[in-house]
Structure formats: structure tokens, C-alpha cells
């Protein structure tokens, strides 16, 4: 390996063949003060988010708000169509006051609440993960969707010593690129 020039921003891809080795490697690097930019894995690794200190996602709170939005929309829809715009006498059911008519609207209110929550949370998830139709593949190595695990490090203080350390941590392959 070439001698590494100090104070030059580089991107390093470290490939591991097993998730246990990957987790050990990440811990060693974090202890060394190396900032890990990204980790690419073929499946969820439990505990990885805590090691990387990813924090909580806001998706649950968003789902709750979307649910309320859907419920409110269905309230407005049933009130406007059935009680305000064109009230009809259907089987003698009360049609002039929404609160008297509402038991018959419960199924539609329920379904619309679910509909809005599910679709809006799905859109939010795709936006949060930057997933769009036809967008460029986000993984730098195709093997990371199969059976390999990859670390992405961007740092200025990358020394030969650190690289040797990464190798010893069980890395299968190390690739370096200038930014």
C-alpha cells in the first residue's frame, strides 16, 4: 500500500464478511475516534443503530399525525356529503345532524384513517430514505445486498497505522478513494 498523505480528505470502503466482525470493527474504529459515515448491510443488524448513535426516527409520531389527518378528513367528508350538501332520508336514519348520523359513518372513518396513515407514512419513509423510482443505486459495492458488509469512512487523519488496524479488525478488503 502507498504511503498515506496526511491532511487529505479520503473515502475508505472497508468490507467485512460477517456482521459480528463488522460490529467489532466499528467499535474499534469509534474508540479510535474515526468518524463512520455510513454502513451498508444486506439486512438489519440489531444493535448497529445504538453503536452508530443514530437516534430515534420520527416516523411513529408522523404516523400518529397522519392518522388524525385522515380521521379529520373523513369527518369533513361525511358531514359535507351526507349532512350539509345533500341530506337524504335513507331508511329513516337521522340525516340533518352529523353527531346523530355518525355511528353509520364509523366504518368509513376507520378505513380512511388507515388509508391516510399508511399511504402518507409510506411516502414519508421513501423521502426520508431518499428512495425514488429510477434513482442511482446508493450502495458503493453490489456485494452489500448479497452477503458482505461495508463501512464508509471519510476522514482527513487516515494513517498507515489506522489502515493496519482496520485490517487486523477482520476486514476482508479495503478500498481508498480521494474525495
Amino acid at each position: 500500500m502507498k504511503n498515506i498523505e496526511e491532511n487529505r480528505c479520503r473515502i475508505i470502503y472497508v468490507l467485512y464478511k460477517d456482521e459480528e466482525v463488522l460490529l467489532k470493527g466499528i467499535k474499534i474504529l469509534i474508540d479510535k475516534g474515526v468518524k463512520i459515515k455510513e454502513v451498508y448491510t444486506p439486512f438489519t443488524i440489531h444493535g448497529l443503530d445504538k453503536i452508530l448513535n443514530l437516534g430515534k426516527t420520527s416516523l411513529s409520531k408522523m404516523a400518529f399525525i397522519y392518522g388524525f389527518l385522515g380521521m379529520f378528513l373523513s369527518f369533513v367528508l361525511t358531514w359535507y356529503t351526507m349532512n350539509y350538501d345533500w341530506p337524504q332520508n335513507i331508511g329513516g336514519k337521522p340525516s340533518f345532524f352529523w353527531h346523530m348520523n355518525v355511528p353509520a359513518f364509523v366504518p368509513v372513518i376507520f378505513e380512511l384513517t388507515i388509508f391516510c396513515t399508511a399511504h402518507l407514512i409510506c411516502i414519508s419513509y421513501l423521502i426520508k430514505c431518499a428512495l425514488f423510482t429510477g434513482s442511482k443505486d446508493q450502495n458503493p459495492d453490489t456485494r452489500t445486498t448479497d452477503d458482505k458488509f461495508m463501512l464508509e469512512i471519510i476522514d482527513q487523519k487516515i494513517s498507515n497505522e489506522l489502515i493496519n488496524f482496520i485490517k487486523k479488525s477482520g476486514a476482508l478488503e479495503i478500498t481508498m478513494k480521494d474525495l
Partner: protein
Amino acid sequence: MMSSYESPIRKPLILGKKYYNDLTKDVSCPVETKAGKLWWISFIIALTAMIWGGVCIFYTIGKGIGTWGLNRTINWAWDITNFVWWVGIGHAGTLISAVLLLFRQKWRLSINRSAEAMTIFAVMQASIFPIIHMGRPWNSYWVFPIPNKFGTFWPNFNSPLLWDVFAISTYFSVSTIFWFLGLIPDFAMLRDCSVKPLQKKIYSILSFGWGGKAKQWKNFEEVSLILSGICTPLVFSVHTIVSFDFATSVIKGWHSTIFPPYFVAGAIFSGFAMVQTLLGIARKVLHLEDYITQKHVENMNMVIIATWGIVGIAYISEFILAWYSGSPFEDFTYFSTGASTGPYWWAFWILIICNVLIPQALWFKRIRKSFLWSFVISIFINIGMWFERFDIIVLNLSHDYLPSTWTGFLPSFVDIGIFIGTFGFFFVLYLLYGITFPVIAQSELKTILKSSNEKYRRKQV
């Protein structure tokens, strides 16, 4: 630090000594290799049935629903039977994905993808029937609350038929997005391992640029949990609302308060039976023997027998209530002594044999664990559940409150043709899915690869 716990006593959910790459190969194999002779024969048969069904639908639309075997007394028959049957079948997929995810049942991972596909395709078949029953399907958009050519003429939100529209369309679209979100990481795997340029391009579009980043996985877990949480009541609501079509009416044998839980249990019962049937075939054809094991078959059979218990209680309740009412009209409900000896005795006894007697074999462990017997019993349950709906609808309608209107029902060739056509359409979709989609949720299955295999094997040695 261990990312997964290895149980020394739990039997492995995946057979054979497999590593992550083996899962990738096994899942991508049917996609990358050409379809076999058996697949083509099945596809041509299904396509022919679908075309025949399409011809019958066009004939119905051209001539009107007078081409069906309906009459003034039995004005709902095969169409609504088929609708309820297909919707019922569509219940297992989302139940497996959502409810079993909430209960942390890992065995679901080998079967959830295909069960969800079955759900979506079955709901598509179900939706055909109410639309063509309208007589003027080009006006079917009137059921949605959108301005139409009559100005502000809104659909009736008090009607169970409209509740059905909202329930089925919500169930279909939510199940589809739930299914698709789970497919994105697997499409990315196919994108990365495919060698053909066109295939790579298609999977690249479908994978939305998925990279498997740590944050993406965290969000994926969160969104899966949220969708499971909201899909669980959705699954139960859909067949509850379908049962309202009958339960809110004034027809004898229909206006029963037991219908919502009874219909939901029946739907899960028939849905799991259909999963057994389809996976029984897929397991052999797509060589998934290591992933769909005896444990999966046994667990599904346990769900079948548990839901049978609920359905059985509902049958007994219906029978006792009909008898205890003392009403002569109630003696002709689908579960009564009149039904068992009347003109539709054969439909009654097919239901009893297929749905009550044959599933009892599943109490025996040897049968519950047998692939062949599970497959055979599942077919009988599918037939039995179709007859249950047929009996509820046709048998109850045939003997109404007015004896002078009592009559029978004989399906026309159009009725039969459309039903066969939906089978064809269902299998066309399922067969295409089998060779183009990852049939197993490999990215999720990889998480349990180390959870039980090694220590169990060591203990066995």
C-alpha cells in the same frame, strides 16, 4: 457483541447448512433461469381460463346480468359467493405479515412474501364481481365520493355496500404498499446480482436506488412495525365490513350479530388453507424445500384448527338459534335441519364434510406435519369455504318469507365461466410473480439464519 441470539433448543427454521450467499442464490435462481416446461403448461392453462373468463365478462356487459342464473328470488348468487370467497382468501397474507410480525413469529419469514402476493391477487379477483354486478361497470367510479355528471350526488355513507368499497380498496392499496416496501431491499439484491441489462434496468427502477444503509434499515424496521400495527385492525375490519352486507339486512339467516367475528375467523381459516395449497405447489416447483419446512406447515395447520374452533362455535350457534327461535322460516337457514334435508341438502353436506369433518384430521400431529395431507386437506377446506358462502347466500334466499316466491338456482355457463376466469387470472398473476419476483423475503430471512441453526446442530451431534 452478538447481533443475534442462538438458541440451542429451537429447531432451525431453515434446513441445510446455508450462508447468506446461498439464500441470495436460491431466491434469485427462479428469476435468472428460464421457466420450465411445467411452468409453461400451467401458464397456458391459466391464460386460457383467464381469456374464457374475459369473454364471459364481455358477454355479461354486452347482454346484461340476465345472462347469469339469477332470478327474482335469488338475486345474489355466484357473484357474491365468489366475491366473499376471494376476499376471505385474501386475509391470510396480511395477517401473516402484520399480526405475526407483532407477535415476533419468525417462521412467518419464509412464507409472508408469497402469502402477501396471494392476498393482493385474490383481492383483485374479488373486486371484479361487484363491479360487473353493477351491470354498467363504466359507471363504477360513482361509488367514490367524487363529483359526477349528476352534480353533487354523493354515495350513501350509511350503506354497508359503500363501506365495502372503502374497506376493500383500502385493504388492497395498503396491502400492496406493505408488500412493495418489503420488496425494495430484495429488488436491490436482484438488481445487483442480475447480469442481463434489461433485467438489471427493471430491478434498478423497482429498487428505488436502495443501498442498505444503516439509517435506511432503521427506518425500514420502524415503518414495517407501524404498517403492521395499522394493518392488524384493517385485516379484522375488512371481513367484518363484508359480513355487514348480510348482517345489517332483514333476510332470515343473514341478520345475525355473530357474523362479524364468524366471517373474520372463516376468512383466516380459508386464507391459511389457500396458503397451504399454493405453497405446497411452490415448494416443489421453485425448490423451496429448505425454506418451507414441516414446522411451517404444522404452524399453519395450528392456525387453521384454531380458527376452525371459532367457525365451529359459530355453526353451532347458528343451528341452535334457528332451532330455538321456533320460526318455520328459520328452519330453512343455511344451518338448520331443514337445510340438511331440503332441496340444497347436497350443498349443506358438502359444507359439513369439507369444513367440519375433514379438518378434524389436523388434531393428529402426524397429519399436521405431513406435506401431502396438509395439501389435500387444504383443498377440501377451500371447497368447503366456498360452499359455506354459497349456502349462506343461495340457501337462505331460496326460501324467503313468501312461500310463493320459493325457487332454486342453477348457474349459467357465464356464471361458471367468470369464476373459472378469475382462477385463471389469479394463477396467471401468481405464475408471473413466481418467475419475476423474489418469492422469499431474503433480506428478512437472513436475519434469522444464525438464530437457531448452529447451536441446535451441535447439540444434535
